[in-house]
Amino acid sequence: MRAALLTEYRKLVSTRFWWILLIVMAGYLAFLAAVIAFSVNAESGDGPGGAPGMPVASGVEAATIVYSLINAIGYVFPLVIGSLAMTSEFRHGTITQSLLVEPRRGVLLAAKLLAAVPLGLLYGVVACVAVVVGGAPVLALVGDGAFLSDSEVLQVLAYGALVTVVWAAIGVAFGALVTNQVAAIVVIIAFTQFVEPIARVGLASVDGLAGAAAYLPGAAADAVIGASFFASMGSADVLSRGAGIAVLLAYAAALALLARWTTLRRDLG
């Protein structure tokens, strides 16, 4: 397994995509953190959920909403980089050579899932830095402060990085299931940017289904972080932190097992 992990590490760092995506994520999150930090504090703005003339949120709440963008917006990046670990093998046909040196397909998948941990952590830490660099100065200038030493804010950042690790693993498992690279990326982007946000708001507004929204992966991750950009938009039901982690890990495990017994069982021709 050690050799398999070293192989996965070398696969990753010998191409350029991991740092290109990392830079894109950092820039995107820093920019959005600044924008959101400005808009939640804007007193005259018609911020989402806020009445005109009142800030959407203030104080620590405003800060946590901004910093929670790590998950609310940023989770597409670890998902994509994770999925690429698998889909690029199928796209470029390197899966053949990978399975020639390690015919045990479960070991290959496990190595990729484990290799996603340090990669996800790197993405998580960079995402933390990005939302702080982008959000903190604006919060300090326009709002009530950056609250960078507040324990609630620190929790949001730390759990944000942790959740990013799980997102990367979910990405690997999803890529193993949907091995077509273009399809995997399209589904990830569509789900994270469109389907899930709508589902979270939509389900929350239907009485009987309001509880179900909390089990969507993004909502579960928000529960782990303890703050949500979406919570500020009115979707109320949130799981406990432990339950949130359990739900996320269940998604990763379910996708990985499904992949192992479907796509990874197939002949490679």
Binding site: T7, R10, H92, T96, L100, P103, G269
Partner: protein
Amino acid sequence: MVLGMSTAAITVEGLTKHFGPVTAVDDLSFTVRTGAVTGFLGPNGSGKTTTLRMVLGLMSPSAGRARVGDRPYVEHARPGRVVGSALEASSFHPGRSGLDHLRVYAPQVGVSDARCREVIDLVGLGAAARRRVSGYSMGMRQRLGLATALLTDPPTIVLDEPANGLDPEGIVWLRGFLRHLAEEGRSVLVSSHVLGEVQSTVDDVVVIARGRLVHASSLAGLADLAEHTTYVEGPDRAAVARLVEQHGWSAEASGAGWLVAGAPAPLVGGAAHAAGVELHELTPRGRDLEEVFLRLTAPPTTQGEDAR
């Protein structure tokens, strides 16, 4: 040598693969002798690649089995050390350098970075080692595939169509390279749809068509199936034509004379002498293995099921 001399390098027994209604490989059995170069020949689409993929554990057979040494490929603790293989010339990440491609797999087959550099020099890619594969020509990709196969210095090597996409110079290089592997005593299974590409380097041939074995022997055994062709020319063209007809040979006009198929020069000469036909030229043209190969693998519409 890892394997005992009593064990074949590769043993294929009753291997069968169905893809839906299509039978790609049909009850195929053959062995690859230890220390010999075996040419695995057949037209495109005859099941060569499917067979090799089953041998290497990438596809599961519908029936039958394949062993590398004493057990199936996937049951070796480190299969990459037992068999080196190059299956597709295009299976590289375009953004990775040639050297990094080797370094990626090095940990799992237990070789050092120094060995990666060694094999990339060996196949003549030393100068391009740090360039990304997207800039490689087809020939360079084939060479990188060979370098991958040789990474562990394995006793057995499996190459699928290594001559595909090579220019004539590359094919000459490949021949020399295969000969070099043979001289080192390795067992090599090399597939090709063109006999001529591997003819000068193989000891044994396994010929398949439509997924079935049509011939397996030494190269000399294949040559025995080849017809002798003789060029014959005399002042009386019609007399020579009658002679060919009387003996039931087939002949086609060629220049001033005839190209007689199926008869060695002494036989034609003797017959001419006995019939009193004057000859000015009688030249053996050798045996055309390619013709045998085409005959063995021809579709059943032009040839009966007597190919075996």
